[in-house]
Symmetry: C2
Subunit: 454 residues, 2 copies
């Protein structure tokens, strides 16, 4: 048969293909995230990757976004009805959550905390750093009618827990409030129609800089001095208490006052939840692109790698389910774009992805795995039974090649049995990082490895 075209062996553009090193690093990151989600009482739901197009488009007034992938049966049996036209791939975790909560509202106990970790799809034009499939890790908590502001604070605590546990470097969760931002913008005298435009301009502040943002506001008919004052306030990076005091001084009407009160209470609860002072700050300039955030908004950045942009974002919304249910279900949530974050951290050399093994121990079989099965297979069995993940080298190659295999994959230790060890009931434990090795009685294998792996 003709050879397969080599270029077709690459995963399609925009669809990341993770080899062992990257996949192991991703596993580890996802595990850390999940532990923190579960630590705060969040539980998983598993909705399918496939939803009805009507569901996916409901929030956009029924319009199907160009980014939605539909399905089709490629080679339908003759006469068979193709119902795949009613299927499409999800583009986030929020719409499936809204559908699930609307469908099961009678059985859920509110406040309902759920996490979702899994792939979402976007039919974007593929370019560097843009993925068409990527893993998002979300939590949301949904209330029935009302939802305490303390949940907003808990989001900050969960983000802080995750990035502390990931130990990638110092980070800051920025906490804003849409009502405060809107109050400040309205105070400049802008008409209703221009408030949203100004909010979008401010959202790009960090990207385009102070000067360009002031110019955008002036274009919207804000007086230059007012624009300067507003931007000065938004870029004020004095400490949290100072910023809050400054905001409290101003009188910009009830919506603004409500926002400042919310922000103050959220910050107070963030402290009560033990989030260190240097892991969060108030940042009123956060608008978030999405329209549906109505109160608290979050962004998170690494202090030393600001170029990575926001690594965990979210906020509060007034009603999760919209037209799916005639019940008001407010929520607050955050989302981490894991695939993009992971691959950028690896690429930038910030996160190592060097090992292509999870097991730290390789049982080598230099005398022949089958001829000495009673020895080698028993060593592997004992280690595994003791909870020590162990690879057993079963190819028939000389010991030096097996040790090369071990080093290449990144094992910490190799177990070696020589001819003379068989009768003496001994074995060698070789530390592959230091190259030091110890001869020990075979019966002491477990206690030695437990000690070395500590």
């Amino acid at each position: 048969m003709a050879a397969f075209e080599k270029r077709l062996l690459q995963a399609p553009s925009g669809f990341p293909d993770l080899g062992p090193k990257e996949a192991i690093a991703q596993r580890s990151m996802l595990d850390t995230i999940r532990v923190q989600f579960e630590s705060a009482g969040y539980v998983p739901i598993e909705t399918p990757l496939v939803e009805r197009p009507e569901v996916l488009s409901a929030k956009a007034g029924g319009e199907i976004s160009a980014q939605i992938y539909g399905l089709r049966v490629m080679n339908p049996a003759e006469g068979a009805e193709d119902d795949s036209k009613n299927l499409a791939l999800r583009f986030d975790h929020t719409v499936p959550l809204a559908r699930f909560v609307a469908a099961n509202q009678g059985e859920l106990a509110f406040p309902f905390r759920r996490y979702a970790i899994g792939p979402v799809f976007r039919g974007e034009r593929a370019k560097s750093g843009r993925y068409r499939q990527f893993i998002q890790a979300d939590i949301d908590v949904i209330g029935d009618g009302t939802l305490s502001l303390l949940h907003d604070a808990e989001m900050v605590s969960v983000i802080s827990g995750i990035f502390t546990a990931l130990a990638i470097g110092p980070f800051t969760v920025r906490i804003g409030n849409r009502k405060v931002l809107e109050g400040l913008i309205r105070a400049t005298g802008l008409s209703d129609g221009n408030v949203k435009k100004a909010s979008n301009a401010i959202d790009r502040l960090e990207k385009v800089g102070v000067k360009a943002t002031i110019a955008s506001l002036v274009d919207l008919a804000v007086e230059e001095e007012q624009a300067r004052d507003l931007i000065a306030l938004l870029t004020d990076d004095r400490d949290t208490n100072h910023v809050l005091a400054l905001l409290r001084e101003k009188e910009y009407g009830p919506l603004y006052a409500e926002g400042v009160d919310e922000l103050t209470r959220v910050v107070s609860a963030v402290r009560q939840l033990g989030v260190p002072e240097d892991c969060f700050r108030v940042d009123i300039s956060i608008a978030r692109g999405l329209d549906y955030y109505t109160g608290t908004v979050f962004e998170t950045r690494f202090d030393t790698y600001p170029e990575l942009g926001s690594i965990a974002s979210g906020g509060r919304y007034e009603d999760l389910t919209g037209t799916f249910a005639n019940r008001k279900l407010p929520g607050v949530g955050i989302s981490i774009g894991v695939t993009r974050l992971l691959l950028r951290l690896i690429e930038a050399g910030i996160m190592p992805a060097e090992k292509s093994t999870i097991a730290k121990v390789l049982v080598t079989t230099g005398l022949g795995a089958e001829a000495y099965g009673a020895v080698y297979l028993d060593q592997a069995r004992r280690l595994r039974d003791a909870g020590i993940p162990t690879e057993l080298y079963l190819g028939e190659r000389p010991l030096d090649k097996q040790l090369q295999f071990a080093s290449r994959k990144g094992f910490g230790f190799a177990i070696i049995t020589r001819e003379e060890d068989i009768k003496a009931e001994t074995l060698i434990v070789k530390n592959l990082e230091t190259s030091s090795q110890y001869e020990i009685p075979s019966s002491e294998l477990l206690q030695t490895m437990r000690h070395l792996l500590k």
Copy 2:
């Protein structure tokens, strides 16, 4: 806006929608499987859920199966090229593995052990127990040119480890060998063209029974007495050593002899790997529907729930990559259909899925979460920091409602702080299963909970 049609809130037919109870049970099952995979030295790769149709069809001689879902951009921007016609959803983990190994053969260290746990898609007509999206958990080990038979034995050890850890009930891994089966069939004098048909008939033995299988063989021109003898041998459930001895007595040519030798060596290694004798047996009748198994084949059944069919199956194949690479890469693998297994276990009441919480502790806030934030948020923080997953009830409802919430979700313990506890610096730990409760100094919360959760 008009209310959304209720029936559209159900996930599409064939696409399971797991609520917290089922999703928590699935998480736990997947974790157990993963720990066993990693314990034996398997590492993940993460290929996308989307592959090129050419890749998916390569093993079927370029033919696109009716079960493959293709993608399409639903609402393409005008003039934009729709390259989604080159995208389709994977239907198993093996084809993506073959593509990945062919594309990266230069960088992989062989033998290459990999696991894959994730959804696959089949455009089947949806019916009870048939899913269009389901999670498969696979391991495969791939050799370069050759691959020791000991890997086949390791598969049995991994399956045994998984079902022992899942603790659902006694199970038996059945080990067969295609060469032995083919040798036995050929010994009946069947022509080449009928050997495969006879093998398929035998594969259905358990389903259709002895009588119908003999009839099928007779239809293929096997003499009735020979057919009876063959089926008698295949359904012989004497112990492993007896069956092997019986097989060794027969002389049906070199292929048969090779198969019997392989089977004998696999069984010997299975024992050396410590798999208990009552967890496996030889079963020559296993043919497996798939054409590409060439040697060892596996099936696994629960001893007490045979109606669940095979719960972990696989076997050895001569060449993973086929036309993808001009290098012979033999492999052996197993696959567990997790979604189907999980949902049938839950449905049959064999596996409980009763709790909709992972955290065992609920911090109740009967005095008001915000008013007493300094107390309640601190309790939650201390528990979480100590590694005890804890939900913090943040709704403003009376204590009895909060305790109902706790019972409904399946928490083990509630932490209660009454008015008098504030000054006394005490709190109540309530065991929700026994309804017993203890008043303790607040400072002893962690040590008490650690003790109770042991």
